[in-house]
Point group: D2
Chain length 151, copies 4
C-alpha cells in the first residue's frame, strides 16, 4: 500500500466508525458521496421535520450538515478533531424535498488546526449556503497503533 | 395599551405563531423562557439523538438552537425576518442531559438588518458557545393591519 | 457595446473612482490586477509599518486588504454597496516583503445582498487567509443615469 | 504580591512591550484605557487616512483595532498568542474625528484557545461594530522564568 492509499484507507475507516456512532448525522440523513483525506462530500434531502416557521429548511439544519461534512473531512486525517468555530452565509432558501450536496474542502492543515470551506448547493446547482469552520486536533488517534492505526 | 405594551404583545403573538409552525424548533425541544422586542431566552435539554460521534452535543444542534433564539427575538419585532448569516465559537462540550439556556440580545436594528448576539450556557452557568447572527427584514408583516397587526 | 461589455466598463469606471477616493486602500498600496463584475483581484506588498508585535503582518491589515477587494468587486456592479459583516481565518503568517494576492469572487448576488469569498495567497502560492464578507446594496447608483450611468 | 496582583503586573509588562513593538497598532493610534488579565479597553480617533471611498472609516481599520484589543487582552495572560480567526458585524458607520472605544472581553480560556468578544462604540455610546475572535496560544512565554516571567 502506498502512503496515499494508506491515508485513504484510514479516512474510510475513521469516517465509517464515526458515522456509525453519530446520532445526529443519522437524523440528518447524510449520505457519504465522496471521501478523501481533507475532503468530504455528503448529500441529504430536506425533510418536512427540518423546516422552520417560514416553511424553508432551518438554518441550523444546513449548518449542521456542513459541520458534519467538515468533521468527516478532518477526522479522516486520523486524529480526533473537534469543531472550534464556524460561520455560514445563507444565500438562498432550501425547501422540502431539495437535495443538498455539501462539499467540505481543506484550506489549511497545521499540527493543531484544520480549516475547511464548505459549499452547499441544491439539485439545480444553485448555492444555498457558504461556510467555513475550524477543527482543533487532539493528541488522540481514532485508531491507535495497536489497533492497526495511523500509518 | 402603551406603545411598549403593544410591542410586547406583538412579539408574543408573532412568536407563538412561529413556534406553532416551526417543525425543527419543536424537534429541538425549545422552551421559551423570556421574550421581549429584540430579546429572547430559550432553554433546551440535550438529548441522546442530538449527539455526535464523540458523544457530545452536535455543533449544528447548538447553532440551530441559537438561530431559533435570534429568529424569535427578531421576528418578534413584527416584520418577517430571515437569517442571512451567523457564526459560532464552541467553547466547551455540551453533554446528554445538559440544560442549555440561550439568550439572544439585539446589538443593532436598522430598517433592513437586525444583528444579535447569542450566549449559550449550561446548567452550571458555564459558557458552551458564543454566537452572532444577522437577520434580513422583508417588507411583509407577520400580522398585517387588517389582522390587527403592527401598532 | 454588448451588455457584458457595458457591465465591464461600468465596473472599471466605478472602481477607478473609488480607488481615487479611498485613502486607506491607498495606504495599503493595493494594486488592481483584475476586475470584472462580481470579481476583483488585488495585490499588495507587506511593509514594515503593517507589522504587529510579533513581526508578522497585522491581521487587521490582511482583513482590510480583503475588505477592499470585495468592496471593489461588489461596487463594480454599479450600486453603492457597504460592508455589513465579514470573517477571516488566518492560516499562515505573512511577513515583511511578502506579496499578497487577494481574489474576491462573488458567491451570491440578490437585490440587496452580495456575498463574497476572498482568498489570500503569498508569492509562493501558499494560503495566508480565507475570508467571506457581505455587502449591503443601497438604492444609489455610483453613476446615475444622467452621468451616463448604469446600463 | 498576591496571585491576582502578579497576573495584573504580568499583563501590564507584556502589553507594554507588545505596544512598543507593534508598528501597525501605533499607526492606528491606539490608546490603552484599561488592562486586566483577559480584558483590554483601547481608544482611537478615526483619522482622514483611515477613510474609505465613501468617506467613512474603512472596515479593515475597525477590525484591526478590535484585533489589537483582543491581542492585548489575550497576550497579557503571559503566553504568546496569535490570531487564528475573527469576525465582525458593522452596525453603523464611523466618521472622521469619531472616538472609538473597543472593549475586548474574554469569553473562554482553555490551554490552547482564547475566545474574545469585542464591542466597538463611538463617543455617543452608539455601537459601531461587534466582533469575536480566537487566539491560539503557543508554548512560549512573553517573559520566560529567567527574565522574571510568568508567576
Amino acid at each position: 500500500m502506498t502512503d496515499s492509499e494508506a491515508e485513504n484507507a484510514l479516512a474510510q475507516r475513521v469516517v465509517a466508525r464515526m458515522r456509525a456512532g453519530d446520532s445526529f448525522s443519522k437524523w440528518l440523513g447524510l449520505e457519504l458521496v465522496e471521501l478523501a483525506p481533507g475532503r468530504a462530500v455528503v448529500r441529504a434531502v430536506v425533510r418536512k421535520d427540518m423546516l422552520n416557521a417560514l416553511g424553508t429548511c432551518h438554518g441550523g439544519v444546513t449548518f449542521a450538515m456542513a459541520d458534519s461534512a467538515l468533521g468527516f473531512a478532518g477526522n479522516g486525517r486520523g486524529k480526533v478533531a473537534v469543531s472550534m468555530e464556524g460561520n455560514i452565509s445563507f444565500t438562498r432558501p432550501a425547501r422540502e424535498h431539495d437535495v443538498l450536496t455539501l462539499t467540505a474542502q481543506e484550506i489549511s492543515a497545521s499540527n493543531r488546526l484544520l480549516v475547511y470551506s464548505v459549499s452547499v448547493v441544491n439539485q439545480r446547482g444553485e448555492v444555498v449556503a457558504a461556510c467555513r469552520g475550524t477543527l482543533f486536533r487532539l493528541e488522540a488517534d481514532h485508531f491507535p497503533a495497536h489497533e492497526g492505526g495511523n500509518p
